[in-house]
Structures are given as C-alpha cells and as structure tokens.
C-alpha cells in the first residue's frame, strides 16, 4: 500500500496516524511456527562443546544444531508496539532477522500485509522489504564512519530508487529535523555525534523509505538513562506521526513496559508468555515471567526488599530440556502424577533433587541431609522409597548415580518434562489474548 502513497510526502503529516490501527483489522504481520536452527560448526561457538547441559552433564556435541528460535507464532497489529523481552542469547535478534528474512527460516512462515514472504520472488520481496526496516543496538557500528549523515539517511532511498538526488536531500533534511537533529548536520560525519544522536540518525535512515513496520533491536541499550528517555520519547512521537508499527526488542523490562502495547517474553528460543502490557506486568502467569519481574532492581530503596532470585543458569540451546524449557530452573515444577505428595513434601523433594543434580555433594551423613532438606516433611510411599535409594547411592559415594536416579524418579515423569505447554489464560486486565506456556494453567482450565 505504501507504493500508492506519494513518497514525496516525506513526513506523512496527513492520513496515516495511529488512528488507522483499530483493533479487528487484519494484523500487519503474522508469524507462524517460525524456527531457526544454526549449524554449530563455527569456531566462535566452539565453547558450547564444553558447556554443560541443563542438568550439569557436560555436552560434547560438535556439529549439532543451535536451536536459536523454535516454533514461534504471534501477530502484530497495525500501529501497535509489540515488546519482545528476554535474557541474552534467548533468540530475540535471531527472531527479528528471520522474520525480516535477513536470514532464511528453517521452518515456518511470515505473512506481511497478508503476503507470505516465502512465496515472494526476488523483486517483490525487495519491494516488501522497503516497508520493513530495522534499527540495531549499536549506534556506533551501524553507521559507516566515512559517510556523511545526509547520504547515510538517503542510502535506503537510493537502494529503492526513491526520488531524485534533490528530492532525497530535501527529504533527508526534513527527516533529520523530525528525529530531533539540526538539518544543518546533513554534512557532518557520524563521529561528531553522541550515542543518542547516532541512534536518531539510524531512526531517520529507517524512516526514509516510509516503512510501515520497524524492528528496533535494543535501540537504547547502549545509552545513558537520560538520553534513553529522549530517544524513547522521540520514537513514540514518530510512531504517531508516521503511523508506524514497532517490534521493540529489549532485555530491559522497564523500557519494554514503557514503550509496548503488548509484550512477548522469550526463554531459550521460545515465546513463553504473551499478553497486553498491563496484563503481563500486573497478572503474569508464567513462572519465568514472574521470576524476571521479581529480579528487576526497582529504583526505590523502599521497594528493594522484594527482589527475588532465580536459581541456576540458562541451559545450552543445543540440547534444550524436553517439555517445558524452563523446567530446569522453575521454582514451581509440577510433581509427577504418580506420587501423592503434599505441597511441602514436594517442595522438599524438588529442592533436594535440584541440589544433588546441580551441585553434587560432599556427603555428610544421611541424618544431616534428612534434617537439612526434609525435617518432618519426609514423604513415605513410592516417593519415600525413591529417596531411600538416592541416600544409599550418596552413602556409597556415587553422586552421579544418585543424581540420575533422582532425575528419573522425580523430574522425567513430571508433565513439565514430558509435554510442551501451550495454554490460553482469561485476562484480568483488558480483553486481549493472554498466552502462557506453562502446565500450571492446565489445572486452571480443569477447575474452571
């Protein structure tokens, strides 16, 4: 549709405001089952071969697949900002690059304005790309230091044969002022600008071809707080002025809360929860989202007592845990159905199992361990027998065998290790869809 627009209408003052973004429209972008695996034979990732897997077992997997993004589906509505948040390495940038087809997906489809990008030929895809721009994290390296600011902003227009020289320059100057820079800076080199200003140049460049959709991959992560606020405000204003749709990627939950309309949380290559912003922050359902929210430091000393701590490390994406990928760290891992345990008993068993599996022991005595982990909550029955066996193995100084035994008895049979979760939640805030990949929702559905 942008093709019918006058590209000379540099700033889109008229018409294309966010008002066009009424809900119920077809989504601007739809991602279905998107998957990207990387072949792990490149040298720079070779450290992964000596990493340990989820349960602390060394992984010796040379030419294996890095499961960077797996089976991700969502929609982005016209005019909205979808925030994508997750820890380093969870696959945010890979997802962004795959959905823009800067790299080919291993599986899955991306529909932009109704067209499947995979089915578009070279030229048609190229034209579509004009409507989808990306801004990267590092404002330093994404700007060619030898070029002047004006030509940098004009570059995408040249690539897409937009306007003539004069028109492009006029538009570049206009855009510079739109992003809050002095149009006089047209002839300056990027080094003469601060980080926040370089990010504005990036914005101007991305907007030059009048895109509908802009992927912002950590655009403010390298900036100081006071400068970040300037850039975030500018991005918001431009969104309204240009009727833009954003996919905004960040590891910073505060920034995501500020900028987004809806939020997707990623963990180890998968989207684990997706909901309207207010719903996600005020009624988070996935234990990982809850842990993330708990662990952010709040800039207020009167609120700081509440910070929670998530145990363990993110497992390797080469052999991610079966079932729910968060299960190796989840504080709420569900007890296997075959044991009849109280919550307190299961909490003790889970803590003990994690400890043996993760850390190993220098065995003290059984009595000490019993006291430390179980006190008077020691379960009997089949669970008790499984624990007895583990203690015997620990006593025999076979901690690995004990770990295996506990894993087989208490983790593998859990639904969390056996089935991939995918549930819909009744939202408490607003009426948007609330997706949550956690089996705890199964109980909710049963009791409703």
């Amino acid at each position: 549709m942008s093709d019918t627009r006058d590209p000379g209408d540099a700033t889109g003052q008229a018409g294309r405001t966010a008002a066009g973004a009424s809900a119920g429209d077809d989504p601007l972008l739809r991602v279905e089952g998107l998957t990207k695996l990387f072949k792990n034979d490149s040298g720079f990732l070779s450290w992964l071969t000596v990493d340990r897997d989820a349960d602390g077992v060394p992984v010796t997997a040379d030419r294996e697949w890095v499961r960077a993004v797996e089976d991700v589906s969502f929609e982005i509505r016209r005019g909205e900002t979808l925030g994508l948040v997750g820890e380093s390495g969870c696959g945010k940038s890979t997802l962004a690059r795959t959905l823009l087809r800067l790299i080919d997906p291993t599986e899955g489809d991306v529909y932009f304005e109704g067209d499947n990008l995979a089915e578009l030929s070279g030229e048609a895809l190229r034209r579509k790309r004009k409507d989808m721009q990306i801004i990267f994290q590092d404002p330093q390296s994404s700007l060619d230091p030898r070029m002047k600011v004006g030509p940098i902003v004009e570059e995408p227009m040249r690539a897409h044969d937009m306007l003539d020289d004069e028109g492009r320059e006029e538009r570049a100057r206009e855009l510079l002022s739109r992003v809050g820079l002095d149009p006089q800076h047209y002839n300056r080199h990027p080094h003469a600008f601060s980080g926040g200003q370089r990010q504005r140049i990036n914005l101007a460049r991305a907007l030059s071809v009048n895109p509908d959709f802009v992927v912002c991959d950590e655009p403010t992560s390298a900036l100081d707080a006071s400068i970040q606020a300037q850039v975030l405000n500018t991005m918001r204003r431009l969104q309204e002025e240009f009727g833009l749709t954003y996919l905004f990627i960040s590891h910073d939950l505060s920034v995501i809360r500020h900028i987004s309309d809806r939020v997707a949380v990623m963990y180890l290559g998968e989207v684990v929860e997706l909901a309207d912003k207010e719903e996600l922050y005020e009624n988070p359902q996935h234990p990982y989202t809850q842990a993330l929210l708990d662990s952010i430091p709040v800039p207020d000393p009167r609120e700081s007592e509440t910070r929670g701590v998530l145990e363990g490390d993110v497992p390797s994406p080469i052999e991610p845990p079966s079932g729910c990928r968060f299960r190796t760290r989840c504080p709420e891992l569900i007890a296997p159905a075959e044991y009849d345990l109280t919550d307190a008993e299961w909490a003790a068993v889970r803590a003990f199992t994690r400890r043996v599996v993760r850390h190993g022991f220098e065995m003290t005595t059984q009595a000490d361990l019993e006291a430390e982990f179980f006190g008077d909550t020691r379960p009997g029955g089949p669970a008790g027998e499984a624990l007895d066996r583990a203690f015997v193995l620990l006593e025999r100084k076979e901690p690995d065998a004990a770990a295996d035994h506990l894993r087989d008895s208490f983790i593998e049979p859990s639904i969390c290790a056996r089935e991939q979760p995918s549930y819909e939640v009744d939202p408490e805030y607003g009426d948007g869809r609330h997706f949550c990949a956690c089996h705890l929702q199964r109980d909710e559905e049963l009791t409703h």
Binding site: H258, D300, S304, D313, H359, G360
Partner: protein
C-alpha cells in the same frame, strides 16, 4: 561514628592528551566507613572509573592524579605538598608503588572490573589463577591455597567447584566469571572491595543472584564496598550511602533513602524522572535536555547549568562544591547546588532563570568532537 576506613579529599585526576587536559576527576571528596556499601553513580563519562582507579593508584598514562588526598586506615595513598615554587609534589609519607603492590592492593583493597576477562588470563585455568593469587597474597602453600580456592568458589555459588578448578575462563559463563572475580577479591579478606560495574553486562536474573550473594558475603566478612554503577535500581538495592557524580564532580551525597526520597540536587531529581519503571506504567518520561559536555572543556560555573531545569544566571558564574545541606537532626546530606541559598550564600533566588530547552529537539547539544566545522 567511628573513623572512616577510606577518606578521599578533593581528589583530582587529569588526562594530558594532545587535545588538551581532560579533567576526568576534578575535586571529589567522599568517605567509606566500616561494613558499608557506598555507591558511586553517574552517567557514562562522569569519572566513576577514573575515581575508582585513582584510589588504587592504577591510573594509566596519559592520566595522573594531580591533587587531593586519599587516606586508607590513616595511611596516605595519595598526599601532596606545596613546593617552594608553588607546584605540588607527593609527600615523602605517601605510600610507594611497592608498598601499594605488596601491602594494599589485593590484601587490603581489592578491585573488580566490569569486564572479567580484563582480570582473568585466558590461557590459564581458573583454579590455577585463583590459587596463585591466594598463595601470593595470603602467604600459604599450594595445597592450602587450593582448598581456600575451592571454598571461595563454593561461597560465591559456583556449582561443583572442585571439578571446575581445571576449567579455563572461556568455559565459564559471564556471570560465573564475575563470581570468580568476587571470589578472588574476597579470598584475601580485604577491608575494602571496589567493584566497578561488575554486573552491568549481565542479565537481571544473574545480576540478582550475584547481588544477593554479595549482600550475604558482605554481612559475613564485614567487608566495605565501593559499588560503581550507572543503575539507580542497583543503588537502591544494595547501597547504604550514595555519591552522585556529574562531569568529574560530586553533585549529591546522601544516605540511600534520603537520596531517593528527599532529593536535594536537580541532577539527581532529573535522573530519577528520566527512568522508566518496572513496577508501574509511566506514561511520559521526562528526559534531561542535551548531553553531558566533554570533560575536556567543562562549562563555567555549575557544571550542570547547561542542562539544569532550575539553572539561573548565577549558576553560570559560581561552581558550587558539595556542602552539607541537612537539617540539624538529620544525617549529613551534601549537595552541590546554589538553590540551597542559606548554605551557599549566593543570590540564587533573585538571579534570573536560564531557559534550558527540555524538549528533545535541536537544543540537544552536539558532542564537542562535533565542532569540526565541516559544513
């Protein structure tokens, strides 16, 4: 209150570059008491790292500590005297480089850097490096040092520490490497640890784990910390007292609760206003206008006057030092701002206001490097 273990008075550290003198730290004073965590917070380029390095006497060329005093448990780490010619020279009592190396660094004051690979050698095992460090600094034999190393790694939360001694640094995740450095710093039971943004590059969950561990260890060993960060969330969480730096100088110094809830300096105020919050939706962020000027050519008067929403003409002329502006029944609360007229006695309130553009438009200043006139 007892005497501080570290006292910094009017510290000045400058870099003598081809372009001129960079006044990275320009008259900074603060102190650290026993068993407390003191924050140094400020934006990039404020001089936090240079201040930290100066205390350890680790400033590299072309930088030099050119003035002020640093005294640690009464010993002069930095001390100057006037010569007859009117220049400054280090006093005879000032600790020699050798004394710094052999008695102070590592043993009494340890430092943890933002990038752990700066301190860990990639070609030696983690256990080997830790053991050697302990051997040298604690005068123990190899096997005892090894045991201490295992114990310290366990303390900082490394799983299966004995098995991991023979791993190389690249086999550890970023968070684990940072834990190793904390283990190393703690292993000699120093009185003071200077941590320069040790968790800035880490994910929040990992940062949370490490901060919790540090709080526990701090309690157990009674170590004092200087915690350098730009993250006010981290400051709120772990610091007892906070120093806010702006462009080489102290803007505000207060107990953590007072800094956040009884803010006395416009810069701190503006910084807090510019933050998006994790715990509530902030509709409108209020950024600070412009950028921090370069330390090579700082503004006249109050260094914040080019961006300060409360700036008045007098702020262009007078550069306030951080003075106690607390009420008589409060803990000391220092602020370098002329608004506190009863303390600074400049006619602030009758001076005409300066209109600093708060919009993020053209008024956004260029960096100084931009003055190359290529247009």
């Amino acid at each position: 209150m007892t005497d501080p273990i570290l006292e910094v008075r009017d510290l000045q550290t400058h870099f003598f570059t081809a372009d001129g003198v960079v006044r990275a730290v320009d008259g900074v004073s603060f102190e650290v008491y026993e068993e407390e965590i003191v924050g140094i917070v400020g934006e990039s380029g404020a001089g936090k790292s240079v201040a930290a390095a100066s205390i350890m006497r680790l400033v590299e060329d072309p930088g030099e500590v050119v003035g002020g005093e640093v005294s640690f448990k009464g010993e002069p780490i930095v001390e100057f005297e006037e010569t007859e010619a009117g220049t400054r020279r280090p006093t005879d009592a000032m600790l020699s480089n050798r004394e710094m190396r052999e008695r102070i660094r590592g043993r009494e004051i340890a430092i943890i850097f933002q990038d752990p690979m700066e301190s860990l050698n990639p070609v030696f095992t983690v256990g080997g490096q830790l053991r050697e460090f302990i051997e040298i600094n604690r005068d123990v034999g190899e096997s005892e040092a090894r045991e201490i190393a295992v114990e310290m790694l366990r303390e900082v939360g490394i799983p299966e520490p004995r098995e991991r001694l023979d791993d190389y640094p690249h086999q550890f995740s970023g968070g684990m490497r940072q834990r190793v450095l904390i283990a190393m710093a703690l292993s000699c039971e120093p009185s003071l640890i200077i941590a320069d943004e040790p968790t800035t590059a880490l994910d929040v969950t990992v940062e949370g784990q490490i901060l919790e561990q540090v709080a526990d260890l701090q309690e157990k060993y009674g170590t004092s910390f200087i915690w350098v960060t730009h993250d006010l969330g981290v400051v709120a969480e772990i610091c007892d007292r906070v120093n806010v730096m702006y462009l080489g100088q102290m803007a505000e110094q207060a107990a953590v609760d007072a800094l956040f809830h009884d803010t006395r300096h416009p810069y701190t105020d503006a910084l807090l206003d510019s933050l998006p919050r994790p715990d509530r939706t902030v509709e409108e962020l209020r950024p600070i206008a412009g950028v921090m000027p370069e330390a090579i050519n700082p503004p006249s008067g109050c260094r914040f006057h080019t961006r300060c929403p409360d700036a008045r003409e007098v702020c262009r002329q007078v550069n306030p030092d951080a003075r106690d502006v607390s009420e008589s029944d409060e803990r000391p609360h220092r602020a370098a701002c002329l608004k506190h007229e009863d303390v600074f006695h400049e006619d602030y309130w009758s001076s005409p206001p300066i209109d600093n553009e708060t919009d993020s438009g053209f008024a956004v200043g260029r960096t100084d490097a931009g003055g190359s006139g290529d247009e």
